[in-house]
Amino acid sequence: MLSDSETAELLSFLTPSTRPDVKGHAIEYILGLSGNRDGCHFLRSKPDLIVALCALTTDPSIVIVKNCYHIIINLSADETLHNVLVADVKVLPLLVKNFVDPEFPHSDQISTILSNLTRHKKTCKTVFKVLQEEEVGLAKLVDMFCTEGYNKNAKLHYLGPLLSNLTQLPEARNFIMDKDRCVVQRLLPFTQYQASVTRRGGVIGTLHNCCFDHVHHEWLLSDAVDILPFLLLPLAGPEELSEEDNEGLPVDLQYLPEDKKREEDPDIRKMLLETLLLLTATKAGRKTLKDKNVYPIMREFHKWEKDVKVSATCEKLVQVLIGDEPEEGMENLMEVEIPEDVEDKLKEADIKEQQELEEEQKKQEEEQKKKNNDANLTDRQQESGLTL
């Protein structure tokens, strides 16, 4: 890496008055550093450089500005850089101030950085604190998220993961699920947002986190919020259900057209199923899901699902839906006390299941590879003119 004197020289190039070409090269060099782990670690020890870069985000050259943001994005992706960025470079207030400006041209970059910084709980808490200090509440963020075209120059899709990350914190969850406001309701339609998998995933991640608080389940499942259809729609398909099955479903799931597509991203599908599973923790939740005819949707989904891991989660959900009610005292599955030896056995079973799933997946991949190889072989044989 660079020596101290080289670093000092590099720093001297990062001023607004430096010749643009020298400045540009210096920044490109740092961009390269930020692209790999060692480079990032080096930069971690040189907060002055990062401070200078932040200042250059107001540089008249658009290329320089873009590169500076790119560097910060890379740095923020590395968790070990978070403390430096937040505490030493104090990057947050500036980012947040610009973020809410509907005219600001680099809001997409900012949302990516904030989304990275909120990945892990510690820095997430700091980010949340700064948001409060800068008077950018969650209300503002939700508003920006839900307003189509809030910023003409930025798509703001990364607001999705940002919100999702923030809901690691109970304060954020409480705000989103505030009964006296209308917050979570405004997020629900985005579970079907076709134009961006990032946005969609962010919303579903948010809902997933929110469902860990089972005290809110009844409200979430009630008409005041009605979370269930929005979790089921991405999993529901075009298959025609009988009139009887249809009429028992929530309104949004009835009579789906024949071109209805299911969620394409398997991770998101898995997250949806896990959220539904969370909602079955309470007796009331289980009853609601059973009453609202969730089972036929899952039945059709299971027939369609090819991914092994997602299928397994679906099966878990189906088990709860068609299984008997647990005995008294065990009704809230999240509050059941599991004796230690049982817990160990369950952990073992989990590990075993995970291994089986991975083996299954490997098998699938190998079969696919083999198919590809066979196809290649045939091609080659044809090319070499061999007759069989």
Binding site: D143, R181, C182, D223, A224, V251, D252, Q254, Y255, P257
Partner: protein
Amino acid sequence: MASPAGEHDSDDGWDEFFDKFKTQEYKNAFKPDTWEEEFDKIPMFMKTAPEEFDPQEYPELACLQALIHDEDMSPEEKAKSLKDEGNAFFKEKNYKKAVLAYTAALKVDCGDQELATVLLTNRAAADFHLGNMRAALNDAAAAKKINPNHLKALIRGAQCCIELRNFSEAIQWCDEGLKAHPTDKKLQDVRLTADKLKRAAERDARKAKIKEKRLQSEKEVLLAAIKDRGIKLLQSAKPSQRGSDSEDEDGGSSAAISELSLDGLSSQEIVGAQVFLDEQGSLHWPVLLLYPEHQQSDFISAFCESNCFIDHLAVMFGEELPPWDVDRKYNTQNLQLYFEDEEKETIYQIKPESSLLDVLQHKRYFIKAGTPSFIILVNGSAFKKHFLTGKKIKKL
């Protein structure tokens, strides 16, 4: 009992006083026979505001007019007074009058934007109760333009959108409102209602679409079944539409088939009856039997294609003869069945033992208005002779 002398005197005096009322009226008394009418004219006791605005008859309501034309009041006072009049009418649920008052107030351009917002919102409310949703929505929007955070205007606007079944717009109004008033219960309730109605309407649209598709495919299956049998449907279309190959016998039938459309199945004569395909794959047709001799007809609502004419005729003419058969000659064995090929001016005689399908498949048989019809004549009758004169007759 003895009464003191003085009281005796005043008793007389009181009696005198009371006696006076028997003969003298007090000033401004109600007349005994019209007291109810007069009672009703006093604003305090009025039950309903009068429709006619005759200032002579109803001096109190004329104050609206007076206010409008008052020279001495400042614009602000005028506007406020007119607003108060409007509010009073509103409380009595006299919304039409309220709108008039608010409109008059708005016309007084006194530059008070806050007052204007209130007036527009109030007028919107009055129009809302009158069912004038568009007018109400316009006023709510105008109020919102002046003051984007005016809660009542936002709520009213959303409610108008709901009544106009524009649910997405209603939700937009609510979301705008919730930005400034995030915890307002009414806004949240209206939003919830709009959202529910929107999703129900979407479901209804989906359901209708699926039903339409199903009906469409059922119709296509039906048409295919008819076409497969080589049966030809005639539309009310002119023969000129049939194309140049209508002369050619085979071409004629294919041209007619190519004209097969869903309209060809509608029966103009008998509403509600239509050909249908049963579960075993047989067609059942609505059939008209015509008796031109007596200008009568019989309608068979579902004649299965595999059934024979004789079966139906035996039932219809076997036991009792119809009342219009004055000559008592329409016995089953005397009946003869025909259909007419109008284009070629030919009459074809049908054997009663034939099945409906046999006849329908005849290359010169065209079904009009989705209802096959056949002519019945009595063998040996004078009418038959007359009817068949001049026509080409062919046997099937």
